[in-house]
C-alpha cells in the first residue's frame, strides 16, 4: 500500500503525548508521509497537508479545563483557516477537547461522571457513513477502541444538539457489543452516548476514543484503523 504521496500533519502542543503513537500508525501501518507541526512553528498555512491530526495528551497539563489553553494558541488560527477551506482535521481525545474549546466544534467536555480517569475498551457505532472519517467502515460495523480520558463527558445545549442532528454531525456513539446505545455502554456520562461529532461540513471530527491504539492485531484489534483507512480512501477518491 503506497500512500507516501499523502501528506499528514500532527500538531504538537506542549503536553501532547499521543503524537508519537499517531505518527507510528500513519507511517508504519498506513505508509502515509507524516510530519509533526510544532505549535509555535509558523507555517504560512497548513495547506500542504492532506489532513491534520490533533493528537491526544494533556496540552498545557489540561490544568484549567481540558484543551482550554491549547485552544488559545496561535496555531489554532491556521487550523481555523485550514478547516474553513475544507481541510480535514481529526481531533483525538485531547484533540477533540481542543477543537471544542477552539469552537471548531460545538459543545463542551465535562468531567467523567465517575470523576475518574477511565482507561478501558469501548464499542462505537457510526451514525454517518458519509464522512472522510467513516467512508471505509463496513456497513453495520461496530468498532472496538480504547478510551483514556478524565474529561470526556460530552455536553451541549439542546440547540447545539439540534444543529448536530440536522447536519448528521453526530458521527459516533458509545454502544454495547451488539450495537445498542445503552446507559451501561456509556463510559463517561456523555449526552446521548456521544463519542464523536463533526462540524457542519463534516471535514472536522472530534473523537474521544483512540483509533491509533487499536490499529494493530497485536495490540488487541484493528478497528481503529478504519478511521485512518477512511481518511486515506476519501483523499484518494477526491
Amino acid at each position: 500500500m503506497n500512500n507516501r504521496y499523502i501528506k499528514a500533519g500532527i500538531t504538537v502542543f506542549p503536553g501532547s503525548n499521543c503524537d508519537f503513537d499517531v505518527h507510528h500508525v500513519l507511517t508504519d501501518i498506513f505508509n502515509v508521509n507524516t510530519s509533526f507541526i510544532w505549535h509555535k512553528d509558523k507555517p504560512k498555512s497548513c495547506r500542504e497537508y492532506d489532513f491534520i491530526v490533533i493528537p491526544g495528551g494533556f496540552s498545557y497539563g489540561d490544568y484549567l479545563r481540558a484543551g482550554a489553553l491549547a485552544a488559545r494558541s496561535e496555531i489554532m488560527g491556521l487550523l481555523n483557516d485550514y478547516a474553513d477551506n475544507g481541510g480535514i482535521i481529526l481531533g483525538i481525545c485531547n484533540g477533540f477537547q481542543i477543537l471544542l474549546e477552539a469552537k471548531l466544534l460545538t459543545g463542551v467536555m465535562l468531567t467523567n461522571k465517575s470523576l475518574r480517569f477511565e482507561c478501558k475498551y469501548v464499542h462505537l457505532r457510526p451514525f454517518n457513513m458519509d464522512t472522510p472519517f467513516t467512508c471505509a467502515i463496513k456497513d453495520n460495523a461496530i468498532l472496538k477502541m480504547p478510551i483514556a480520558h478524565h474529561d470526556g463527558n460530552y455536553f451541549a445545549t439542546s440547540k447545539i444538539i439540534n444543529g448536530l442532528n440536522k447536519n448528521n454531525g453526530i458521527i459516533f456513539k458509545y454502544c454495547n457489543v451488539t450495537g445498542e446505545i445503552t446507559e451501561d455502554a456509556n463510559p463517561n456520562g456523555s449526552l446521548y452516548n456521544i463519542a464523536g461529532i463533526s462540524n457542519e461540513k463534516c471535514n472536522v471530527m472530534g473523537l474521544m476514543p483512540h483509533p491509533e491504539r487499536s490499529s494493530e492485531k497485536l495490540l488487541g484489534g484493528e478497528d481503529g484503523g478504519y478511521i485512518f483507512k477512511s481518511i486515506i480512501k476519501y483523499i484518494k477518491e477526491k
Binding site: G15, H24, F58, R116, E118, L219
Partner: protein, 757 residues
C-alpha cells in the same frame, strides 16, 4: 582531635543526626559545623542518601550478568536488549510523603522515578507500582486508596507513560504506614546512555527545569528560621507535582541528549541540589563551583541552605561543554523551561559556593559523600520461636468449602484490581500487548521494519511483587519468594527473567529484630537472584516505616511487616508467542505441572477461616523452581499450551477460578478432579505459592506434552477440562462462574467507594 562536648544549640537533632555523627563531622571539619554545613552533612548522611544501615548488606547482592550493562550506583540499572537497544529500570519508594498527602505523595513518587530513568537518556515506556494499604475495614483506607491511585494516574497519564501493572495489598500492618513503591522502565540506545559521572573540568554546570521553592524542607528550615511561625504558616513540607512541566523536561532533555549537548546529568531527587551536585562531583572525581545567586527561585530570598535542601520537583543538574551552552539553552527555551549556568567543573575535589557575589563556603566532596556505614546490631526476633509447622488436624476443616471459596476470591487482596488500573492509562504508547489484570505485563518494542506487520516483535515482560506475611513468618524465604514469584509470572507468559530491581521496606534499622529481618530478607533475595540469574541492578531501601502510637495509656510502636518488593524484567523473542493465564476454549484440558505440598502456613485461607496465619510457610526449592520454569517456557515456545497460571495467593482454587473469569470475551468454568494422597481438600485447594502451574491445552494433547517434558523430571497431571459456566471440583466445590465473576469484579470497588472523611 578533641571536640568540645558542648554542642551548639543541639541543632544536629533537628537535622536528624546522632550525637556521634555530629562529633564525627566536627572531627572531619576540625571544628563544629555551621548551619549550612550541618544541613549539607545531614542530608548526605541521611539514611535515604547514604544507605548507612543497609550498605553492608546490599553489597552482597549479585549485580553482574550477561545482560547487565550498568548495575547499582547510577540513577538506574541498565540491561542489554539486543539490536543496540538497552532497557533502563528502577523502583523507588515514596511511603512517608504518601501517608502525609496521598495524592501528591504518590504523584511525586511516580515523577521522581521517571526522572531517574530519563536522566539516563531513556524514554520511559512503562510504569508499575506496588501499593500497600491498611486493612480494608480501616475507615481511612478508602481515602488512601483513592487518593494514591488518583495521584499515580495524574502523573503517569499526563506524562504519557502507560502504567501496565502492579499490586495492591491490604493488611492491618500498614494502617499507620502505607507503602507506595513506583517502578519505571525506559528504553534507550546502547550508545546513548547518560551518566552522572562524566563531567569534565571546564564544563559548565547547568540547572534546568522548574524553579526552586520551599518544598519538602523539614528540620533544615525549622533550624534556620528559628520557628518564625508567621512565615511557617505559608510553608508546606509537601511537594506538589507538576507532570506537565516534567513532560516538557523529558522532551527537552531527550532532545538535548539526542543532539549530544549534555556531558553528564543527574536528576534532583531527595536532598535536591545538595545530593545532585555532590554526587556528580564525587563520581566524576572532580569538583565544582556553585553560584547560589544564579538559581531560579520561586520564593524570593531563600537562604543558601534552603536552596541547597529544597526538594522542588521537576529539576535536573547537568554539565555541558562551554561552547554548547547556547544551543542547550535554545532547546530548553523552546520547551519553556529554565536553563541557567550555576557553576563550573573544577580540578579540585571540592565544591566552592558563592553567595551574594562573594565566596561563601568550601566543602570537601569526599568528606561529605562518604557518610557513615553501620553494621547495626541484629537479633533473631522472639516471635519466630512460635512459628511452627502447621498441624492441620488441629483445625476443623469447614464443611461448606463453597462459602470459603467465595470469600477468598472476593477478598480485596485477590479480587480484580480493575477499579484501580482503569484509572491508569495503560494503552498509551501503542506497545501494550498484555495489559494489567493478568499476570506479567507484556510490551512489544517497535522494530525497524514496522510496516511489515507479520515480522517478529521482540518484547519484554514486567512484574512487581512481594509477600510481607510470608516475609514476617520467614524473612529469608520471603525475600527469596519475592524473586521466585516474579520469575514465575514471567515464565508463565513465556518470558525469560533477566534482571531485577528491589524496594526494601522495613521498620527502624535501630531495632535489632528489624535489622535481623532485613539481613535475612536480603540473603533470600541474594540466593534466589543468583540461582535464577537475575542480578539486582538497582533498587531502594526505605526504613522507619513505623509509627509511635498510644494504645490506651501505653505507648506502642506500630511497625509494618518486613516488605521486600521485587520488580523484574524478562525478555521474549517474539511477543506473538506470549501465553496469557486465562482459559481459552471449552473442552480444553487442564493440567497441573509441578508438585503440590499443601502448606497452609501464612495463607489467606488460614487467616480468613481460622483467624490464624502464623505458622511456618512453605519452603521453596530453588533448584526445582528453575527446572519447572524452564519446562513451562519450553512448552510455551513449542506452542503447546493455551494458558498458564501460577499458584499464588488463594491457592489452586483461585488460580482456576481466575483463569475461568478473566477471559475478556467469555465466561468459562471447569470440571476438575483433584485427589492428592495425604492432603486434605483445604490443603490442596488453598495452599499458596506452590511450585506448580495450571496449564491448558487442546484435548488429546497429554501424550505430546509428556513427551515434550520428558527429561525434565517435572510431574504433569491431568486434572480436568475447561467447561462452560460452572466451577466444579470433585464433590467439594460447585459454583456458578458468572456469580463468582461479579463478586471478583465488584469487591474492590466496594472498598474504594466506601464513604469516609
Amino acid at each position: 582531635m578533641a571536640i568540645k562536648a558542648k554542642v551548639k544549640k543541639e541543632n544536629y537533632k533537628l537535622f536528624g543526626l546522632s550525637l556521634d555523627e555530629y562529633k564525627k563531622i566536627s572531627e572531619l571539619l576540625g571544628r563544629e559545623p555551621d548551619d549550612f554545613e550541618l544541613g549539607i552533612f545531614s542530608a548526605m548522611w541521611s539514611e535515604h542518601c547514604s544507605y548507612k544501615s543497609s550498605k553492608v548488606y546490599l553489597k552482597t547482592l549479585p549485580v553482574a550478568g550477561d545482560n547487565v550493562i550498568i548495575g547499582p550506583g547510577e540513577n538506574a540499572g541498565v540491561v542489554d536488549f539486543g539490536d543496540g537497544d538497552v532497557l533502563i529500570f528502577k523502583m523507588e519508594s515514596h511511603n512517608h510523603p504518601s501517608f502525609i498527602e496521598p495524592f501528591q505523595g504518590a504523584a511525586t513518587g511516580v515523577g521522581g522515578i521517571m526522572r531517574d530513568i530519563f536522566t539516563m537518556g531513556a524514554r520511559p515506556i512503562a510504569n508499575l507500582n506496588s501499593l500497600r494499604f491498611g486493612s480494608c475495614f480501616n475507615p481511612k483506607t478508602p481515602y488512601y486508596v483513592s487518593e494514591v491511585v488518583k495521584g499515580i494516574g495524574f502523573y503517569g497519564n499526563c506524562m504519557g507513560v502507560p502504567t501496565v501493572g502492579g499490586e495492591v495489598v491490604f493488611d492491618e500492618c500498614y494502617n499507620d504506614n502505607i507503602l507506595v513503591n513506583a517502578f519505571t522502565i525506559g528504553i534507550a540506545k546502547k550508545d546513548g546512555i547518560f551518566l552522572s559521572s562524566k563531567c569534565e573540568v571546564g564544563n559548565v554546570v547547568v540547572y534546568v527545569g522548574s524553579a526552586t521553592g520551599m518544598d519538602g524542607m523539614h528540620g533544615a528550615t525549622m533550624a534556620s528560621e528559628e520557628f518564625d511561625s508567621k512565615k511557617n504558616k505559608k510553608r508546606s513540607t509537601v511537594q506538589v507535582g507538576d507532570p506537565f512541566t516534567e513532560k516538557l523536561l523529558l522532551e527537552a532533555c531527550l532532545e538535548a541528549m539526542d543532539k549530544k549537548l549534555i556531558v553528564s546529568i543527574q536528576d534532583m531527587g531527595a536532598a535536591g541540589i545538595t545530593s545532585s551536585s555532590f554526587e556528580m562531583a564525587d563520581k566524576s572525581g572532580h569538583g565544582m563551583t556553585i553560584n547560589l545567586d544564579a538559581f531560579p527561585l520561586r520564593t524570593p530570598n531563600m537562604t543558601p541552605i534552603e536552596i541547597m535542601l529544597s526538594e522542588s520537583q521537576e529539576r535536573m543538574l547537568l554539565a555541558c561543554k562551554k561552547e554548547d551552552f547556547e544551543s542547550l539553552n535554545a532547546i530548553f527555551d523552546k520547551w519553556g523551561l529554565n536553563c541557567v549556568k550555576v557553576g563550573e567543573v573544577i580540578d579540585e575535589n571540592i565544591i566552592r559556593f558563592n553567595h551574594h557575589s562573594k565566596p561563601y563556603k568550601i566543602l570537601d566532596v569526599s568528606t561529605v559523600v562518604n557518610g557513615p556505614a553501620y553494621n547495626r546490631p541484629k537479633r533473631k526476633p522472639k516471635y519466630l520461636q512460635k512459628i511452627l509447622p502447621i498441624k492441620i488436624n488441629d483445625y476443623r476443616i469447614p464443611k461448606n468449602l463453597n462459602e470459603i471459596a467465595k470469600r477468598l476470591i472476593t477478598h480485596p487482596n485477590i479480587a480484580s484490581k480493575r477499579p484501580v488500573f482503569t484509572q491508569y492509562d495503560y494503552t498509551i504508547g501503542t506497545n501494550t500487548v498484555v495489559p494489567p489484570g493478568f499476570s506479567a505485563a507484556v510490551l512489544r518494542v517497535k522494530g525497524e521494519n514496522k510496516a511489515d506487520k507479520d515480522s517478529k516483535n521482540k518484547g519484554f515482560l514486567l512484574n512487581v511483587g512481594g509477600n510481607s506475611r510470608y516475609t514476617y513468618l520467614n524473612p529469608y524465604m520471603g525475600g527469596a519468594l519475592a524473586v521466585v514469584e516474579c520469575a514465575r509470572n514471567i515464565a508463565a507468559c513465556g518470558g525469560n527473567p533477566v534482571a531485577v530491581t528491589d524496594c526494601l521496606n522495613f521498620a527502624s534499622p535501630e531495632d535489632p529484630e528489624v535489622m535481623w529481618q532485613f539481613s535475612e530478607a536480603v540473603k533470600g533475595i541474594k540466593d534466589a537472584a543468583t540461582k535464577l540469574k537475575t542480578p539486582v541492578i538497582s533498587g531502594n531501601v526505605s526504613f522507619y516505616n513505623e509509627t509511635a502510637k498510644k494504645e490506651g495509656d501505653k505507648p506502642t510502636i506500630s511497625k509494618i511487616y518486613p516488605t521486600p518488593v521485587i520488580g523484574m524484567v524478562g525478555f521474549i523473542e517474539d511477543v506473538n508467542k506470549t501465553v496469557t493465564p486465562y482459559f481459552k476454549d471449552e473442552g480444553d484440558e487442564i493440567f497441573l505441572l509441578g508438585r503440590l505440598k499443601g502448606d497452609l502456613g501464612g495463607s489467606l485461607y488460614m487467616d480468613l477461616v481460622h483467624k490464624d496465619f502464623c505458622q511456618k510457610p512453605a519452603d521453596t526449592d530453588l533448584d526445582y523452581e528453575i527446572t519447572l520454569q524452564n519446562c513451562i517456557r519450553l512448552l510455551i515456545n513449542g506452542g503447546m499450551i493455551k494458558s498458564a497460571a501460577d499458584i499464588s495467593e488463594g491457592g489452586i482454587f483461585v488460580a482456576l477460578a481466575e483463569s475461568s473469569i478473566t477471559n475478556p470475551n467469555k465466561i468459562l468454568g471447569f470440571t476438575v478432579d483433584l485427589n492428592i494422597k495425604e492432603l486434605s481438600y483445604a490443603e490442596v485447594l488453598f495452599s499458596e505459592f506452590e511450585q506448580a502451574f495450571i496449564i491448558t491445552s487442546k484435548s488429546h494433547s497429554e501424550q505430546k506434552l509428556l513427551k515434550a517434558i520428558g527429561d525434565f523430571n517435572v510431574n504433569l497431571l491431568k486434572i480436568g477440562v475447561v467447561s462452560k459456566d460452572i466451577m466444579k471440583i470433585n464433590n467439594t466445590i460447585e459454583l456458578k462462574s458468572d456469580i463468582i465473576k461479579n463478586g471478583y469484579e465488584s469487591s474492590l470497588e466496594t472498598v474504594i467507594s466506601a464513604a469516609h472523611i
